[in-house]
């Protein structure tokens, strides 16, 4: 128990630092900015009580907000992702259900399951985030394009990290 709390604390700190110190300064063509810190919401163990998921996602969004200088944007988008997580998990549950206490990782449930899981959460998060950022429905399709492009990169990063991070 203590062990896994420590482990996730370290993962959360590493992901946030990676986001604010590296990814926020990499700007592919000025359009695309991957927000990989959403992995925090993805990786929390399946047994985590839902209110704790919400609090953790809110706080991590808040920290990202403080570094980005954007008021409440990341906090509300990440919170929405954390809120929809149980519903997404129920929607895509494997035929024999989830093993209690297991990590929601690629190693346990397979590449295909993890990809769909990531896809849904990232799309929810990015849609909320980019619409909150522009805060208007003018240029609707350009915002959609930005959402899709950024989601593509975010999902790519997350799958790479998950695939190669297994040996940690």
């Amino acid at each position: 128990m203590i062990n896994s709390i420590l482990r996730f604390g370290v993962i959360i700190i590493i992901l946030i630092l990676f986001q604010v110190l590296v990814l926020n300064h990499i700007q592919f063509s000025g359009y695309v900015n991957p927000y990989v810190y959403i992995m925090i919401v993805l990786l929390l163990p399946s047994l985590t009580p839902s209110w704790l998921v919400l609090v953790i996602s809110f706080l991590s969004g808040l920290v990202i907000d403080l570094f980005c200088g954007s008021p409440g944007m990341h906090a509300s988008a990440t919170l929405l992702a954390g809120f929809s997580r149980p519903y997404v998990l129920r929607l895509i549950s494997p035929s024999d259900g989830y093993e209690s206490g297991s990590n929601l990782s690629m190693a346990v449930y397979g590449v295909r399951w993890f990809f769909i899981y990531t896809l849904l959460i990232v799309l929810i998060h990015h849609t909320a985030l980019f619409f909150l950022e522009v805060f208007r429905f003018a240029d609707f399709f350009r915002t959609i394009l930005r959402i899709l492009l950024s989601s593509f990169f975010t999902i790519g990063f997350i799958l790479l990290i998950e695939y190669y991070g297994k040996r940690r």
């Binding site: 700007q27 919400l54 906090a75 509300s76 929405l80 809120f83 149980p86 522009v134």
Partner: protein
Amino acid sequence: MRNLLNFLLKYNSFIVFLILEGIALYWLTSGNSYHNSRMVKGMQGVTRGMEERLSNVRSYLNLREINSKLASENNALRNSIERFTSQENLKFISVKDTLFRQQYQYTSARVINNSVNKQKNFFTLDKGRAQGIKIDMAVTNGKDVAGVIVGCTDNFSIAISLLNLDFRLSARLKSNGYFGSLSWDGRNYRHAVLNEIPQHINVSIGDTIETTGYSAIFPEGMLIGTVSDLKKSGSDFYKITIELFTDFKKLQYVNIIGNMKRTEQLELENQLQ
């Protein structure tokens, strides 16, 4: 009471969600620039210190380019001093009362936080109220427009970048003096849009765009960019795309310009309304 408790227990995560989302959305909607400046104050300790250290490293890597820019600026300044003093010798008059004539004062600052990839970009400078920075001062990169100060604390200030959907600037064509309104469309960090130039005016690609000084923030004639694309839309106005002189991706040292006669001008203008 028991029903209420049961209800709360059953939907506890939904209630937590509503409360937290309420906090976040309230924060989001209650005024952007205000909160940005408040935030600088609150987060000076951790995030700004870290960003300052990072930006120290980054500014070291760009020293060569900055040196050459400074050298060329020095040359230009030395030339103008030369012109000024020799003129004075000719006329045998020296006006000591500079306070009376000086309208703009200049200082410089370092950019410690910056972005170009959002729709509403701001950047943070390492000088604040204690160094004489005030809200509504102009920020330029040499002679090129960069932004306007929107909030300051004792040692930091935040400027709204030209790359912000809310940024408006009165700008004119250098060749013939027709002015319009400059804004950013959120697409490309190298391009902005100039509106309200009527179609009977001759505009050609490569024309220089400069500030007008009507807003009492920027001095007249600060450079903005060159016309890179020109479309006749259905309305009476051109759609002019401008390639900006300032490259916001490598913005490091900026000049801050304060207008000492701004309050006087605004007071006069307000009398008429």
